[in-house]
Symmetry: D2
Subunit: 137 residues, 4 copies
């Protein structure tokens, strides 16, 4: 399953180079991941309320072209790898009208309890994630 998330780039996200600041890619990826998890029936906020936390343990981004204020953004999010303790999400941020690639990247999420100690991913989350895997592009 590939989740498509759409919104406009915000002025506050721009920087003095006239582009969206590169740190924002990570925030946009997270928004894509949030929507994918909800679409898969495992909304992340609900996981936290039940005492499961999924901190990001690794992230990477390749910047292909610069996004700008008011650009229509489409984030394509997919799960590409699932183990007992980690899930990897891959992302592409794209100009939604021109289909131009802005950024591509990934984050790997671990799992902890409320005390911050590593835990195995809840069985149900692992199964849903495994079933949703898409190959990375």
């Amino acid at each position: 399953m590939i989740q498509k998330t759409r919104f406009r780039a915000r002025y506050a996200e721009s920087d003095q180079m006239g582009l969206i600041h590169h740190s924002v890619a990570i925030v946009w990826f997270e928004q894509g991941r949030t929507e994918l998890m909800s679409a898969l029936g495992m909304p992340y906020g609900e996981m936290e309320r039940q005492g499961w936390f999924m901190p990001v343990v690794e992230a990477g981004v390749r910047y292909r072209s610069g996004a700008r204020f008011e650009d229509p953004i489409r984030i394509e999010t997919r799960i590409t790898r699932v183990s007992g303790a980690k899930i990897r999400f891959d992302y592409r941020a794209i100009h939604d009208e021109e289909d131009r690639l802005f950024y591509e990247g990934f984050t790997v999420l671990g799992c902890t309890g409320a005390n911050g100690r590593p835990r195995r991913i809840p069985e149900q989350v692992r199964e849903i994630s495994l079933a949703a895997i898409e190959p990375a592009e």
Copy 2:
């Protein structure tokens, strides 16, 4: 007591107008407030660990001139009003070398328990704050 907090404006805080984005004033004010509370012996993080939270209930900013990336910033923070349930902080963000005023503003903080319900400000915090009051400029 007037707390002076110094740092440099960050690139990520700039916007495409070439100025520090106006929402950042609120973040800088908070940094000044954090240092003032620590200097007064009531570090805010410690308050939260003991179950007291102080959400912002009102904020206001007047923008006098634009700050820019790499500008040396000085935040001057003072407490200007204290009641049983609220504390008001006033702030001035200034170019630390040119003494030029960037922003002036205030925030009013309320007090709640961990459940989000309003509470009276802890007696010790109220007393320290009262003793630290400075007139607003």
Copy 3:
């Protein structure tokens, strides 16, 4: 005209109090203003490309209740005052399903050229804004 802008609160916007950080209100207001200006046929990005800049000169927010991650947000934006040199926008951030008020506030925007010097608001922008005025609530 009252512009309604809808989106979900982001995880990156939350803070350790479990609420959306209060500085984010200013960013959300800006997003509402951006959409209103586009809806009125005067997209702000286009203004900057033509050499007109509208920096925020004053801002104020009253926080009524806390927004949380994943909350459906509705920003209601209106123009409430227009002079030769300034436009005032008023905003309400609301839980889009419960109709609960999170924040209400305003920003006053001035006008400058690319050199940062104050200018009168472009005549066309002033006329459109005047025609769009709604009373503040």
Copy 4:
């Protein structure tokens, strides 16, 4: 040369997990890079004023432990690779008192003119950067 940059983690940078949000690592790295470039006599703001821009083309972060509000942060920044068109910076974000590693990562910067077109890095910047190279840890 290894530049050490010190500051405290901000409340606005925390998230509802009680940790500093992972996107902030990228902002902190940038702050370390800004200070290293200034210390090397090539302040980045000055480069932009002369028409040279250095956008980030790749970034990566490994998160080792969670930073928290008020933690004393030390960013260690070094240049690890220089070519005609790119410079790579490596970073470590560390608890400045406990010497605990929070994050390690890198960014690769390209070079463009004001028009966004790729350019070779200015000769002087390339020479200074080459002379400052430190091996990655």
